[in-house]
């Protein structure tokens, strides 16, 4: 999960990596106040959880402090890749002598930690690596291997720093390596690392991505307000609701509500819908052995989503039995009611029992089953996907 720039910089500060003396602002008026107080050229930086901020106009230099509030108003109105700007980081403008890049990441294929540095910062490191590989420092380490000072000094030399800066640069790189290890990072980047006109080194930007699965051992991050979040962007209200219920859920752009089994089929099922010409409205994962209550809540999320025109359901009864699946669906039908057409299929552990429960409940109250088609093992899952696409397009056509 990605951190905001200001969060990353706070971690830099903790590890004694020098950062600009910035302040966070939540309104143009606040920015105006800071500009008045400082009375010097500023840089205003939109805080969003996505890349490409600079290209989208999310960073503005303000040479005259009197203009700060007006520029801030424009920035707060901006949407960057669809994400609203809710906070600006206000920093004094740096006078730049040289911009460099330092990053540490994980090479998942080879199970290594990789330290990368380049004499060119502020740009896409991939481009530099492709065009001028000799300008890149790159070295791999085992996770429990020490990162030595002599390696850090070599790195500083390689990215073209003159001798008088080499010790300070190596101190910063060593601190970045410690931060990577200490906070279970997937990636940490200083881009750019700036050599200022005043001959100091400073981290002008931060990009940090942490391992959500290791957050449990970093309670200090929770105190900073850093909690499990998306890799990119904030959650939608429905995703927030699902999170509260403990259901892995994502909103997508389509109109078919996906009510699958586990994560693997959740992903594959979305492909199947596309193969038959439909588009899923969401991704969802039931988790192993979901309770009837959980299944009912999954359906509530879909039935109450106005984008959903039809619902596709699948259950492969493993440890979790198909009769439990049927109980969850029936609980939803009785307590909430189904307003969208839905087609489901059950196979695996006691699927016949699931079908029997549906048939019984239908006999008792056919009204509840008005929009609901259920199938067992005799219908391939591909047919169910096809049917869901049909139902959704009937709904769209009927409007």
């Amino acid at each position: 999960m990605r951190l905001y720039e200001f969060e990353g910089k706070e971690l830099f500060n903790r590890l004694k990596i020098p950062i600009p003396n910035g302040r966070l602002a939540e309104s143009p008026a606040e920015v105006g106040k800071i500009a008045n107080e400082w009375n010097k050229p500023l840089v205003l930086k939109a805080q969003v959880l996505t890349g490409g901020r600079g290209k989208a106009g999310g960073v503005k230099v303000v040479n005259n402090p009197d203009d700060a509030q007006a520029v801030a108003t424009e920035l707060f109105a901006l949407k960057i890749k669809g994400f609203p700007v809710e906070r600006l980081l206000v920093e004094p403008r740096l006078s730049i002598q040289k911009e460099m890049y330092v990053g540490i990441t994980i090479d998942r294929v080879n199970y290594k930690v990789v330290v990368i540095a380049s004499s060119k910062g502020g740009v896409d490191i991939e481009d530099v690596a492709a065009k001028t590989p000799e300008k890149i420092f790159r070295k791999s380490y085992d996770i429990d291997e020490e990162f030595y000072d002599f390696d850090a000094i070599e790195l500083a030399k390689q990215i073209g720093l003159p001798s008088q800066y080499v010790k300070e640069a190596s101190r910063i790189v060593m601190a970045l390596f410690s931060l990577f290890k200490k906070y279970d990072a997937k990636m940490v980047e200083i881009n750019p690392l700036v050599l200022t006109a005043e001959d100091t080194l400073i981290a002008a930007d931060s990009r940090i991505s942490l391992d959500d699965d290791a957050l449990f051992r970093h309670p200090d991050l929770a105190e900073m307000g850093i909690e499990k979040r998306h890799e990119e962007g904030e959650m939608t209200p429905r995703e927030q609701q699902a999170k509260e219920w403990g259901i892995p859920y994502l909103d997508l752009d389509g109109n078919i509500g996906m009510f699958p089994g586990g994560a693997g089929f959740g992903i594959m099922g979305n492909d199947f819908i596309h193969y038959y010409g439909g588009t899923p409205a969401n991704f969802m994962d039931s988790g192993g052995g979901p309770s009837p209550e959980r299944l009912a809540r999954m359906l509530v999320l879909l039935d109450e989503n106005p984008n959903v025109k039809a619902i596709f359901g699948a259950r492969f009864g493993g440890i979790s039995r198909c009769d439990d699946f049927a109980k969850g669906v029936i609980m939803f039908l009785k307590e909430h009611g189904l307003t969208k057409p839905m087609v489901t299929r059950m196979t695996g552990n006691v699927w016949q029992e699931g079908v029997r429960l549906f048939e019984e409940a239908k006999k008792e109250n056919p009204e509840l089953f008005a929009h609901f088609e259920f199938h067992g093992i005799e219908t391939p899952i591909e047919e169910i996907a096809k049917r869901a696409v049909e139902l959704a397009s009937e709904q769209e056509g009927g409007k």
Partner: protein
């Protein structure tokens, strides 16, 4: 024959006195899996399902001759448990829990390679050799002894594919769940090499997923295999930047998309399948 586990394997359960450990130990035993014991520090001397419980993996290995372990412990304890198993000389360690911290798995992998141990998972449904042994949490109902091997990141996909193979009369030699976590103990190419060496396995179905990085490693292996490989990839239509369920299933900027992965696998000689129903058709064409 089969790969990795069969009726003669001697299997222990780490965390055997826990709720999940005890529940699944019972299921595995009912299937006929040769469970010889388990560990739970502080509970040495007890028994679960008639199997002895030890305080340490070393003791369990010494007393029971265990050569494979299945871990049922919370993610935070997996690093310790897996390394204890690896250093005790186990051949295979299967990590069922999900969300293992990435830095922990890097260390586990390093230990495994150094000691010649195969680690499977985390977030795997396990390994099953139908009719002989079922390690983990897979439902027996989908599987029948036969001649096709499978390796997949996901449990639910493994069930659908095995079910398809079983219904079409092919059955399975061994089904391996590689796991859904972002960093895994083993890679596709390593499992494919085991299938290639197994005489009874006449074809392999490999299922990758967006966010995986081991499909690329599989290409090299597939290009010099004589056993045919059928490949599926989940997440062809997944939007970039969104994390779908499996901790690993996210398209990062520099990483290959699902479509690119499938194309690369096909170029290496794998036979691409779109849906489950394609699989028996391809096998038929291949004369398997």
């Amino acid at each position: 024959m089969a790969i990795m586990v069969d009726k003669n394997s001697r299997i222990m359960v780490q965390g055997i006195t826990g709720r999940a450990g005890a529940f699944h130990a019972k299921r595995m035993i009912e299937y006929g899996t040769n469970i010889v014991g388990g560990t739970s520090p502080g509970k040495g001397g007890q028994t679960v399902e008639g199997r002895p419980v030890f305080d340490t993996v070393n003791e369990c290995v010494r007393e029971t001759g265990a050569d494979i372990s299945v871990i049922f412990l919370p993610a935070a304890f997996v690093k310790e448990a897996a390394i204890a198993g690896i250093r005790a000389g186990l051949k295979t360690v299967v990590v069922i829990p999900e969300h293992i911290p990435i830095h922990d798995m890097l260390l586990v992998r390093k230990e495994a390679v150094a000691h010649g141990c195969t680690v499977i998972g985390g977030n795997t449904a396990g390994i099953i050799t139908p009719g002989e042994a079922n390690l983990g949490i897979m439902p027996d109902i989908a599987f029948k002894p036969g001649r096709v091997g499978t390796v997949s990141r996901s449990g639910s996909i493994t069930y659908y594919i095995a079910n398809t193979l079983t219904d079409a009369g092919y059955g399975e030699t061994t089904c391996v769940g590689l796991g859904g976590d972002p960093i895994l103990g083993s890679t596709f190419d390593e499992i494919l090499a085991k299938f290639e060496a197994d005489e009874k396995t006449k074809a392999v179905v490999l299922t990758g997923e967006i966010g995986g990085v081991y499909e690329e490693r599989a290409c090299e292996q597939i290009s010099h295999m004589s056993t045919p490989v059928i490949a599926m990839i989940g997440g062809i239509f997944a939007p970039p930047g969104k994390r779908m369920g499996h901790a690993g299933a996210i398209v990062e900027g520099k990483m290959g998309t699902a479509k690119e992965k499938l194309d690369a696998l096909a170029e290496a000689g794998a036979h691409p399948a779109k849906t489950f129903l394609d699989i028996p058709n391809i096998l038929k064409k291949l004369g398997v």
